[in-house]
């Protein structure tokens, strides 16, 4: 463990577990989404909008986006750790990705609660 660096992966189980938990949440949501699509009375913009306006779907969809952003954080961070060796550049890219994903979470909330 002499090779610990400031932008390392915390060498723990937490992110590994989070990757799998968020994956499971997204897989379940995908099933719910497909079932909801088949339950639509007609395929129109109004019906599509109404589907996401229901309390359950709004909440489930928001959880899906959150799971996705957390999942993407772990995944992209792993990719950056594999290919970007200079620590400064890696830290900068980690920060960009983290802030982008936080911004996306706000964007997703705004889309869903404007309905």
């Amino acid at each position: 463990m002499q090779n610990r660096i400031v932008v390392g992966a915390h060498y723990g189980l937490r992110d590994w577990i989070a990757q799998r938990v968020t994956a499971t949440v997204m897989a379940l949501y995908t099933v719910i989404f497909v079932v909801s699509l088949f339950c639509m009375p007609e395929f129109s913009a109004d019906a599509w909008r109404a589907m996401f306006s229901s309390g359950f779907m709004r909440f489930a969809t928001f959880l899906f986006w959150l799971a996705l952003f957390f999942h993407a954080w772990v995944g992209i961070r792993d990719v950056l750790m594999d290919y970007i060796k200079p620590v400064g550049l890696r830290l900068a890219l980690h920060s960009v990705v983290a802030f982008l994903l936080i911004g996306y979470a706000g964007w997703a909330a705004q889309i869903l609660w404007r309905l």
Binding site: A27, W48, R49, A108
Partner: protein
């Protein structure tokens, strides 16, 4: 004591042009490629989702953007990326709980991931883009 064996220079083979990945390795690298692709296109997907559930004007705007053949091609690629990431991800979750670890099974499930995700991409893509 084991330190002495580790000090020997270990063989490294990183020539991408001559590396032939086995099927499970191919599924694995495509899992990474599809994940990065989905991440990079995230703002496009969020914008399209937001517009699709917006008012009539936003919906019309989304429809005109979707009319562009290049956008269609990118979305078709992203559809594959999602389906491949989904199928390969389920395979990895199974491997995590030690299901299908033996080589013949691992090869078969890797092949199944490629076939199922490509077939679903063509079916759903045809349904979406050809009506």
């Amino acid at each position: 004591m084991s330190d002495t064996t580790l000090k020997k220079p270990r063989p490294k083979h990183l020539d991408l042009k001559t590396i032939r990945l086995p099927l499970p390795g191919f599924v694995s690298i495509l899992h990474r490629v599809s994940g990065v692709g989905l991440f990079l296109m995230m703002p496009v997907l969020l914008w399209l989702f937001g517009a699709s559930v917006g008012g009539p004007e936003a919906v019309a705007q989304a429809k005109s953007v979707l009319g562009n053949p290049l956008v269609k091609l990118v979305l078709f690629g992203l559809l594959w990326a999602y389906l491949h990431h989904f199928c390969a991800g389920i395979r990895f979750l199974m491997l995590d709980i030690h299901k299908g670890l033996d080589l013949p099974t691992a090869r078969k499930t890797a092949g199944a991931v490629l076939v199922v995700s490509l077939t679903l991409t063509l079916l759903i893509g045809a349904k979406i883009f050809l009506g």
